[in-house]
C-alpha cells in the first residue's frame, strides 16, 4: 500500500510535527534495513525483471501490450477483475460492518464465539472451501434442493458457473479480512462519546451515524483496501465457481505462465494489472485521505 508511506495529495493540510523528520535514520530506524534488503531481493528485483520481460519476450517491442489491448476478451478479463473485486468489497463491507459492530456489543463469551465463527473458515484450505461451495451451489446441490423442496422454485436456479457463484465464494474467503480490522477499530472507540451526543439531544440513529460511524472509518478503509487488493489476485475461486465469462486476470496469468508458457505476455498482464491498481488507488486517495485512515497521520 504505497499511500501509507508517502503523503497522499491533499494530505499536507496538517503539517507533520517538525521534530519527526530528521530522526528517521537514528539507531532504531536502522532496524528497517533488513526489511528493505529483503524487499529489494524478493520484490523489487523480480518486479524489474517482469517489467523487462514484458518488453523483450519473445521479441523486443510492444507486441505483448498490443496483443492485450487489441483483444476485447482480455480487456473484459481486466474489467471483470475490478468489477468482481469491487462487488466483493461492497458485499463484505455490508456484511462485515454490522457483524463487527455486534461483536463490540456482545458479552465476552459471545464475542469469542463470533470471532471463532469468522476464523474457522479462515483456517481451512481455500481449495477445500471452494470445492465445498461447488457441492452446495450446484444444480443438484443442497441450496437448490432445499429451495425446490419448500416449493420456492420449480427448477434449479443457476448459482454456480456465473458471477453469483464467484461472489459467494470470494465473500466467504474475504470476510475475516473485512471483519477483523473493523472490529479492532470499533473496540477502541470510546462509547461515552455516543452517550454524550445522546445526552446533548441527538437521537440514537443520528448519534450513531454522526459520531460513531465516522470514528470507524479508519477500520472501514483498511478493510476495504485489504479486501479489494486481495480480491484482485484471486484465481482458484473464479476458476471453480465462475463460468468462462467470469475469468479474472489471475487465472489468465496462470494460464499464460504455466500452460501456454507465454511468459512475456503473462508479464505484460501483471504490469498492466499493477499499473491499473496503482492508478485506481491514486484516484481514491484524491477523494479519500487513505494515509489518515490507515493511521499514517493524526
Amino acid at each position: 500500500m504505497p499511500q501509507e508511506a508517502g503523503d497522499a495529495p491533499g494530505a499536507g493540510s496538517s503539517p507533520a510535527p517538525a521534530r519527526r523528520r530528521p530522526r528517521i535514520l537514528d539507531g532504531w530506524g536502522l532496524l528497517v534495513l533488513p526489511l528493505v534488503a529483503f524487499l529489494l531481493v524478493v520484490f523489487v528485483a523480480p518486479l524489474v525483471s517482469i517489467l523487462a520481460r514484458s518488453f523483450t519476450d519473445p521479441t523486443t517491442g510492444l507486441d505483448n501490450y498490443r496483443d492485450f489491448f487489441g483483444s476485447p476478451v482480455y480487456l473484459d478479463v481486466l474489467g471483470n477483475t475490478f468489477r468482481i473485486s469491487g462487488l466483493v468489497t461492497l458485499v463484505t463491507l455490508l456484511l462485515g460492518f454490522p457483524y463487527a459492530y455486534l461483536m463490540t456489543l456482545a458479552p465476552p463469551l459471545w464475542r469469542n464465539l463470533m470471532l471463532v465463527a469468522v476464523l474457522i473458515p479462515f483456517w481451512t484450505s481455500l481449495l477445500v472451501r471452494t470445492f465445498a461451495w461447488v457441492l452446495m451451489l450446484g444444480d443438484t446441490g443442497v441450496v437448490n434442493q432445499f429451495l425446490m423442496s419448500i416449493g420456492l422454485i420449480d427448477e434449479p436456479t443457476q448459482l454456480i458457473r456465473n458471477q453469483t457463484g464467484v461472489l459467494v465464494g470470494m465473500v466467504q474467503v474475504m470476510l475475516p479480512y473485512a471483519v477483523l480490522p473493523m472490529f479492532a477499530t470499533m473496540r477502541q472507540i470510546d462509547r461515552r462519546l455516543v452517550q454524550a451526543a445522546e445526552g446533548l439531544g441527538a437521537r440514537p440513529i443520528s448519534a450513531f451515524w454522526r459520531v460513531y460511524a465516522p470514528l470507524t472509518l479508519p477500520g472501514v478503509a483498511a478493510s476495504c483496501l485489504l479486501v479489494f487488493i486481495s480480491s484482485i489476485g484471486f484465481y482458484v475461486t473464479p476458476a471453480l465457481l465462475g463460468g468462462p465469462k467470469d475469468m479474472m486476470i489471475g487465472e489468465l496469468i496462470v494460464q499464460q505462465l504455466s500452460a501456454v508458457l507465454r511468459w512475456g505476455f503473462a508479464s505484460a498482464l501483471a504490469v498492466v494489472l499493477l499499473l491499473v491498481t496503482a492508478a485506481l488507488l491514486l484516484l481514491v486517495s484524491r477523494i479519500v485521505n487513505i494515509g489518515k485512515f490507515m493511521g499514517g497521520e493524526r
Binding site: 536502522l30 443438484t140 465469462k245 511468459w263
Partner: protein, 346 residues
Amino acid sequence: MKRVLTAGVALSAVLGLAACGAAGSGADQLTVVMWGGQDQKTHVKEAIQPWGDEAGVTIKQDSPSDYAKFRAQVESGKVSWDVVEVEPNFAHTACDKGWAEKIDTSIVDTTDLNPEEVTDCAIPVLEYAFTIGYNTETFKDAHPTSWAEFFDTEKFPGKRGFWKYATGAIFEAALLADGVKADELYPLDIDRAFAKLDTIKDDIVFYETGEQQQQLVASGEAPLVQAWNGRIYSAAKEGQPVANEWNEHLLSYDQLVIPKGAKNADNAQKWMKWYVEHPEAQAGYSNATAYGPITEAALEHVEPEVLAELPTSPENAPKRAAIIDYAWWADNYDEVSERLNEWAAQ
C-alpha cells in the same frame, strides 16, 4: 548506504549458503516429479521405489509437475528435478526449445513402446483415454455411444462437461461428431469444430479438475462428460452411478522428460530403462489406478476387472477413434487456447 550494502552482502551470502545446501546433495539420488496426490504415491511405490532399492538410489519426490517451474529451472541452470511427468505437447515444446535431455536409446530400449508415444526427449509413462462418461441413472436404457450422439442434445438432453483446456480433446470430439473421418482429423479444422460446438454451446459446462469432472457426472448436474477413463472408473468403484462408453475413445498419454542439466540425468535414464523392462511394475500401477501400462507385456499382469477399463485392452482398443496428435498441438496450442478463451467468453 554502506550499511545497506553490508546487509545486502550478508543476505546474499545467506541465500548463497542455502542454495549450496540444496545443491550439495548425495551422489545417488533421483528426484521424481508427477501430478501429486494418491496417484503419485502409488506410482512411486509400485514402479520407482523398487528400482531405487535395487540400485541403491534414494528416491526423492516433488509435485505437481509445473511447466513454468520446469522452464525456470532450466533457464537459470539450477535444476533440482531429474525426471518429470508431463503432457506430450509440453514434451514436444521442451524438446524443440532445448529444455529437455535426449533419451539415450543405448540405455532405454524403446522398441516395446508405442512408437507414436516416443520422441527424442520423451517416453510414455501411462496411457489413458478421453471417453464418453455418462450417468447411469440419467441414461438407464440408452446412452450416447458416439460423439455424434454426445452432441445430440435432443436425443440425450442435459449438460455436457468438457475440460477447459484446449488440449482436452474437445475439438477432436466436435470434429468426429461433425462427421470428419478419424484418420483425417489432423490438422484439426478449428473453424469447423467451433461451428459444431456452437450448436450445443448453451449446454456446455467447463470443468477444471478431475474431482469436478467426477462430481458433475455423478451428481447428474452434467450427466455427460468428455471424461478421463480413470476418473470415471474410480468414481464407479466408489459406488457412484457412472460409467465409461469406450466407443470412439481418443487415446492419450503422459510422458516422462528429463530437464536439461538435471543433476541425476543418468539415474533418470537408468530408471526409465528399468520401468520399460518391468511390465509387472507398470501393471501394479495400472491395477491401482486404471491408467494403462506402456507395454503390451504388462497387460497379462493386469487384473481382469481393471483390464476391461483400460484403453489398450483387447476389448477396448478396436473402439479407438484416434490417438491425440500432440506434435500438432505443440505448434498450435497458443493460438487455439486464445480462440477457446474468446469463444467461451462470448
